[in-house]
Every structure is written in C-alpha cells, then in structure tokens.
C-alpha cells in the first residue's frame, strides 16, 4: 500500500486517538511482566533446592539403573504380568464406562437447555465441580481405605473421578446442541423425553462417545499409576519390582505398558474417527 498523504494521516490520528497514542504504561507492560515471571521462576528454583550438583550425581545413578535394565526380562513372571496388564485395562474400561453411564443422566440436569432454572442447575454443577477437583489418585487412596486393596478400588476411583469430568463435558455438549432440531420434535407434539431421545441424543451421543474413548485412552495410564498405590493391576507389579530392585523386570513392565497404551491409542483413534469422521469430512 502506498503512503497516505499527510492531511489524511492527521485526520485518522484525530479520529482514532487511542490507536496512535501508546502511553508509556502500555509500552512497558510486556517487559515488566517478563521480568516478574523470570524473578518468580528463579525464586522457585532456589526455594525448592534445585541443585545442579545433585542432578549430576543423580545422572550417574540413572545411567547405572539403565545399564541394569538391559536386557528387559520378565523372568518366570510373564503370565502374572499379562494377568496384571489385563486387570489394568479392565480397570480403565470399567471405571470409564461406569463413570460415563452415571454421568449422562446427571449431565442433563446440569445443562441449561434442559433445566433452565439456575436454582436447580447450580447445585448439580457445584457438586460435579467438587468431585472433579479431586484427582483420581486421591480417590484411589480413599477407596482403598473403604473397600480394601485391589482392582475394585481402582474401578471406583476412576469411575468417580470421571463422573465429575464427564458430567461437565456432557452437559457442555448438550448445551451446544442445535436447538432447532429439538424444536422440530416439540412442534410435532413430542414430550420432554421425546425431545431428549430424538432431538438431543442423536446430536450429542457421537460427541460423548468420542470423549469416552479418549478417556479410556488416558485412563489406561491413570490405572497404571493408581495401581502403584495399591489399586491392583500392573502398577502394583511395577511398584513391587522397583522396591526389590529387579531392574530387568521393571524395564519389561514399562515396555508392556508402553505397548498397551499405544495399542489402546490406536484402536480408540480408529473408533473415534469412525464415529465422528463422517461428519467431520462432510
């Protein structure tokens, strides 16, 4: 673009003064913020005893452990490990499914287009928020104390934590649904259940299915972690072998977990594409 003639420039400057005048405070804001962030970061490093010397010493140890891990070898425990891996996958699958099944009806109560009144919707939302605020790991510790060690506690932990997350996600999907389709059902003489069943669910279920699959994926990882604190599955085996310093078994277990997670990722990716793909391409 060519240069504007000076009178035109003057006119624009007069008409939009805010665009041209950049006060000192605006110019200094960004550098000041970067400086403050750097200061907080440095303070954190000092306060948390960050020590390059210890890290270097640790590297020596890490190298040694890595050497001990090669080659990965399950010894005679392979069948037990496979059972444990199956247990972990079941924990993820069952926990996520139960969480989703319970969350679906509750999410309807948290959606504005189903329950317009804030007085009823608000407590449901807060309830879901508070459940979601507690991490899966903490739920696992809670349930281990309630129902004892083992996979049952793991399933409950994942179900409860996911219930909170799903409740929020589902209700958002429901609120984003196209109102016109629901109105079409109402105008034809459908009741509230018909509106949900035929107007809402066909729109919402594919979204929900995608979210559930994604959670199964990430819960395969969570189920391993909560196994370490005693909720059964392959995490328990891993914790055990680390404690007795069986590094070859540890590396084998880690490889098993990696392969399982990759397989689940792949399968759920395919499924999700099959569910939403058609729509996304259209």
């Amino acid at each position: 673009m060519s240069l504007l003639p000076p009178p035109e420039r003057e006119r624009l400057r007069a008409q939009y003064p805010d665009v041209f005048a950049r006060p000192a405070s605006a110019r200094l804001a960004t550098p000041a913020m970067i400086l403050a962030a750097a200061a907080i970061f440095a303070f954190g490093l000092v306060d948390l005893d960050f020590s390059p010397a210890r890290l270097l010493a640790g590297f020596h140890q890490l190298g040694w452990i890595t050497m001990m891990m090669i080659p990965p070898d399950p010894g005679s425990s392979l069948p037990a490990y496979l059972v444990a891996l199956g247990e972990t996958l079941s924990i993820a699958l069952l926990g996520t499914t139960i969480g989703a099944l319970v969350a679906l009806p509750v999410s309807l109560l948290a959606a504005r287009n189903i329950v317009p009144s804030g007085i009823f919707r608000f407590p449901v939302r807060r309830f879901l928020d508070s459940i979601r605020g507690v991490d899966t790991l903490i739920w696992a510790l809670v349930w281990i104390n309630v129902v004892g060690l083992g996979p049952f506690a793991g399933v409950l932990a994942i179900a409860v934590a996911d219930f909170g997350a799903f409740g929020k996600l589902f209700s958002e999907a429901i609120e984003a649904a196209d109102k016109k389709q629901v109105e079409g059902i109402r105008a034809s003489g459908g009741n509230a259940l018909h509106e949900i069943r035929f107007g809402l669910m066909p729109q919402v279920l594919p979204v929900i299915a995608g979210q559930v699959l994604y959670f199964i994926e990430s819960n395969t990882r969570s189920a391993t972690i909560i196994g370490i604190v005693g909720a059964g599955g392959i995490g328990l085996q891993l914790a055990e072998q680390i404690r007795v310093l069986e590094w070859q078994k540890v590396s084998f277990l880690i490889l098993m977990i990696l392969v399982a997670v990759a397989a689940i990722d792949w399968i759920s990716g395919k499924l999700r594409f099959a569910i939403i793909g058609q729509r996304a391409l259209a």
Partner: protein, 271 residues
C-alpha cells in the same frame, strides 16, 4: 375455524405481536406478509404454542388452545403442524424416523422411545414420502439431503401428524427457485387435496399473490391488512414494506447512489 382474539406476545417491553385478531375458515390458504421483524414468525409460533402468548386467546373449533396443557397441548401441536425455514429435522436420524416423529403425539411413549413403530405408522410415513418423490431416500440421513429434499421430508412429517392446520414459517426462504416451486406446489396440493388449512409466512409478495386466497399483512406486530390478494394495492404493499426500504437507504449514505453502481472506496469504508 381458527379464531385469534387480541393476541399479544411481548419480549421484555417490546411487543413482537400486538393485539392481533382474525379468524380463518377451514380449507383456506392464508399468506402472512410483512417486513423482517414484523412478528410473522412469533404469530405462527404462538398458534403452535412454541411461543407463549402474553395476552389474548386462540380458539380452534371453540376450544381455547391457549389454555391447553400436557397431553392436550401436545395433541394440539400435532394438529397444527409447523414447517420451518431451516426445516428443523434431526440431522443424524434417517428420513423415515424423521417423518415418524410426526406420529409421537398419537402413540404410547414406550413404543416411540424404543422405536417400535407400528407397521401402519411406517406405511403412513412411506406413503407421505412417496407423495413428494422421497420414498427412495427413506434410509438416508436427513443431513445428507439438499435443502429442497429436507423441506419435503419436513412436509411429510407434518402430513403424518394428521393436521388440521399447517403453519409454514417461510418454508422457501432457504431454497432456490426450482425448489421454491416444488415446496409451494406441495403445500397447495395438501391444501386443495386434503382440505388442510395452510397459514404461510412469506417474504415474496409475488408468491403470496400467486398461491394464497387471503393475505394478512403485519407491520410492527400489528395486523394492518387482511383481505383477498386482489385488494392488496401497490399503495398498501408499499406501506407494508416501504419503511424497510427507507431504512436501507438511511444506513448507506442518505443520498441517491452515484452514477456508478460500484460504491467508491471511501463511502464503503465510511458505511
């Protein structure tokens, strides 16, 4: 006989429909005309009870429709079938299921919710689809159809409701000229063939004059014209739409456009 008495609908302080009164004989084809925002959609939505009237009554064959609740209300909605500008089909359901939605008010909920549609209802839906050459598309997903095809599905859905009135809210506003004819002819056929009353919101005066045997003109929520299309003189038509033309002029520059039809760069930027 549909009787509307002093019907008013307010959103906040603004009256979208203001004290509308008229009655419509069975079997009429009535066009509702008026500029954008005149209250045409709100009027139709109140008759179907999608919008709540603030004042006034709607009577159908002596029954006060505005007082209906629950199952009676749902049955009234089925009897006054609504057709929308955006079709309002469920995109992810197939065409047949969309048409079967028109049967919801007449069957027990356990049947419809489990999709155990009675044989005769399926037959009814297929026959309605066939009348609009849509029989072969019954298994297609509704959102894979063209606009004209979707509107024909919506009309089939309305038809299986066994309606006494069809309320069509700008049914052709999203369609091309060919589909406009197809859809308007379908409405006319339903009107003449089954004697179903049609009340149709239209933007185009030409269409309104061609298809309707009575026109109701609305302006700012009020009924300002009610009579045969022949009585709608150019003078009245201009009054119905003129205000809008003035507004359109006012927002650009207030002056007559320059001799070139392409606006100069400066005026476009200023607008």
């Amino acid at each position: 006989m549909l009787v509307v008495e002093g019907l008013t609908c307010r959103f906040g302080t603004k009256a979208a429909v203001d004290n509308a009164s008229f009655s419509i004989a069975p079997g009429s084809f009535v066009g509702v005309i008026g500029r954008s925002g005149a209250g045409k959609s709100t009027l139709l939505r109140m008759i179907n009870r999608l919008a709540e009237p603030s004042e006034g009554r709607i009577l159908f064959e002596g029954v006060d429709v505005t007082a209906l609740r629950g199952k009676d209300l749902r049955q009234w909605r089925a009897r006054s079938a609504m057709i929308f500008q955006q079709f309002n089909l469920v995109g992810r359901l197939d065409v047949l299921t969309n048409v079967l939605m028109g049967r919801l008010a007449d069957m027990p909920s356990w049947r419809s919710l489990t999709q155990l549609w009675p044989e005769e209802d399926r037959a009814l839906a297929m026959s309605a689809l066939e009348q609009f050459d849509m029989g072969s598309l019954a298994a297609q997903r509704a959102d894979q159809l063209s606009g004209g095809q979707q509107q024909r599905v919506a009309i089939a859905r309305a038809l299986v409701q066994n309606p006494e009135i069809i309320l069509a809210d700008e049914p052709i506003a999203s369609l091309d000229p060919r589909n406009t004819r197809v859809v308007m002819d379908a409405l006319l056929r339903i009107n003449k063939h089954f004697g179903i009353t049609v009340i149709c919101n239209l933007h185009s005066l030409d269409l309104a004059r061609n298809y309707c045997d009575r026109l109701i003109g609305m302006s700012a929520g009020r009924v300002v014209f009610d009579g045969a299309p022949a009585k709608l003189t150019d003078q009245i038509a201009r009054e119905l739409y003129d205000l809008e033309a003035n507004e359109v002029m006012g927002t650009t520059s207030g002056e007559a456009p320059a001799d070139s039809t392409i606006p100069a760069l400066g005026t476009a930027a200023a607008a």
